[in-house]
């Protein structure tokens, strides 16, 4: 080094040193920032793995053109924990061996719709959204039809991809 012995102040040298100090500190900061940021952000941005889940209801038990609610048990990772999440899907028989699965979450503000067997409509209890038996909007505030889930039928058993 030897800069301590330099009798005059050299602005160029001083600036150069300052730049090295700043750059190195920025590098350390960036490395710690990337490690910390990766850990903080990654769990929130992770995508859920899709898998086929069996529905407890047989295809024979479904009624034509009327949604039947079925509950799925989905073991899900919740951070370090494993939790079993219960999730409801609406199953509609749309033909021989064909099933449509609807997510009963209203597309307006996320309330849970249910089947009204008298009016033959899916009704949302919150803001009066009304869908038909296949989840298409009939009236009310919902901006889009109910989301459909991919299904497959294996013999009598129904599987839903979630």
């Amino acid at each position: 080094m030897g800069s301590e012995h330099s009798p005059t102040e050299e602005p160029g040298r001083r600036q150069f040193f300052a730049r090295i100090v700043k750059s190195l500190q920025a590098v350390i900061g960036a490395v710690v920032g990337v490690v910390a940021g990766g850990a903080i952000l990654s769990p929130g941005l992770a995508r859920r793995k899709e898998d086929w889940f069996p529905v407890g209801t047989d295809i024979g038990a479904l009624i034509d053109d009327a949604p039947t609610a079925a509950t799925l048990r989905i073991a899900r990772e919740d951070g370090y924990n494993q939790v079993v999440e219960r999730r409801v899907v609406l199953l509609v028989k749309t033909g021989e061996g064909q099933v449509t699965a609807l997510d009963p979450t209203c597309t307006h503000l996320g309330c849970r719709v249910s089947w009204d067997s008298e009016s033959k409509e899916l009704r949302c209890p919150c803001h009066g959204g009304i869908y038909d038996h296949l989840g298409m909007v009939k009236s009310g505030p919902p901006p889009a039809p109910l989301p459909r889930l991919i299904t497959k039928v294996d013999g009598n058993r129904i599987f839903v991809q979630i």
Binding site: M1, S3, E4, H5, P7, R14, F17, A18, I20, V21, L24, Q25, V27, I28, V31, V32, V34, V35, A36, G38, A39, I40, L41, S42, P43, D51, W52, F53, P54, L72, R73, I74, A75, E77, G79, Y80, N81, Q82, V84
Partner: protein
Amino acid sequence: MSLPTRLLDWLDSRTGWRTGRRTLLEEPIQAGVGWWFVTGSILLMLLTVQFVTGVVLAMFYVPAPDHAYDSIRFIMERLTFGHVLRGLHFFGASFIVIAAVVHMLRVVALGSYKNPREVTWLTGVVLLLLILGFALTGYLLPWDQKAYWATTVTINIARSGPLGYQLAGLLQGGTSLGSLTLLRWYAAHVFLLPASLIGFVIAHLFLMRRHGISGALRHVEGVAKPFYPYHALKDTLAGSTVFAVLLTFAIVFRAPLDPIADPSDAGYVPRPEWYFLSLFQLLKYFPGPLEPLATMVIPALVVGLLVLLPFLDRRPDRHFLKRPLVTAGFGVIGLAIVVLTYLGYKDTPAHANPAIWGPLPLAGRTFVRDERCQACHTPGGKASPLEDIRIRRDPEWIIAHARDPEVIAPGSREAPRGGMSEGQARSILSYMRKLRAGVEPPQVSEDTKVVSLIIGRYCSNCHMIDGEGGSAAPDLSRVGATRDRDWLRNWITNPEEVDPFANMPAFGDTLTPAEMTALVDDLARRK
């Protein structure tokens, strides 16, 4: 004038931050303050890294015995850069202990603690003790075997001294080592100690600035220069080098995690972290009633000497050769610590390597693919897939459940009929333990697979092998040392032909000739 400049000007007029920054950065540093004076800055850098990584770890860590271990595993395995994050924090702790000792030795060697810097030194001694406090409270947190047993020892040491009962109660927080202990050590580690540390660091830096840097031993000609960027450059270069080494450690070596704390495991030999190894070793030389000498008196004497140092050594001479007593004293204590640490290290028995799979976990891995297990343990099934649940139950529960699922889970109406043998249940338990420890299954030969299944299904019902299995019959781990192939083959085929009073069932009809050969070969190799 641009908007940002005007904003900063306004802020300056209201706060005076530019003057503040100048005061902080432009301290005149006299000529001759060289590389020896970077040790404090390195410590500050390491403490900052520790603080940041600690805060991020706290977002994922759960201070409860049921969850602590799993939350650490989550950090290590699932988080992006999680193992680097924990690595920085884990190895950072060791780096800080080393850096603190180096800093202290530098201060001692250059006599920097002398008048008027006695109080600066005292705050430094407190900081050293706080750092050791961090280390001690930190390693209980993962709730692994090392955490559990090292803390048990620490609390029992506290119990052995005067007012020991009260002190141990304070440390333990409950009637036994458990959730209350973990919570208070956690609170100390993340609230109490950091708050104290920050306070004392500020005091230490304030006093350092008040008295100026002690500087070179002899006056060096030259003008004083501002701290920034001249000395700051040395600090930053040294700090960056240390950080680069720390980062390499964090990336290359995995921060260790023992199996989960198990109070019933008598086979585990607890050893403290290396920086407490000298104290641990010291204990061995003071048995029985002399023990408090090692646990209390000697450490207290060392700390007492550190506290009193600037008041005992009051002559103005700073060169270490002109202070033979202090130099010799630190030399002796330092050497004693190094030697004790080395002896303690040499005395540490090798732990069973969790990466090695014995026959039981290998067999268990096959047994859990049995349809009786898969009937329920499947995605979306009655129970979670085995690979996901790891161990949350105690070993007895798992063995009982594998032997007869219906007994333990009476709600599952379709529980498969017919459970497994004791050996199979043990194998499954052993496999689950490996899963829990996060050890990848190895690639093994077909013979090894066959032999594992035989051992898991039959032998381990009664025999112990590689530390696992039943205890009704002799341990087979080293059976090849005393029995040869022929004897083993005859014995396994029909024990009564070898010894009419043999208790063991004959397996000549159970095993195929190929299986028998593979088994006999494997056992004969165990020497």
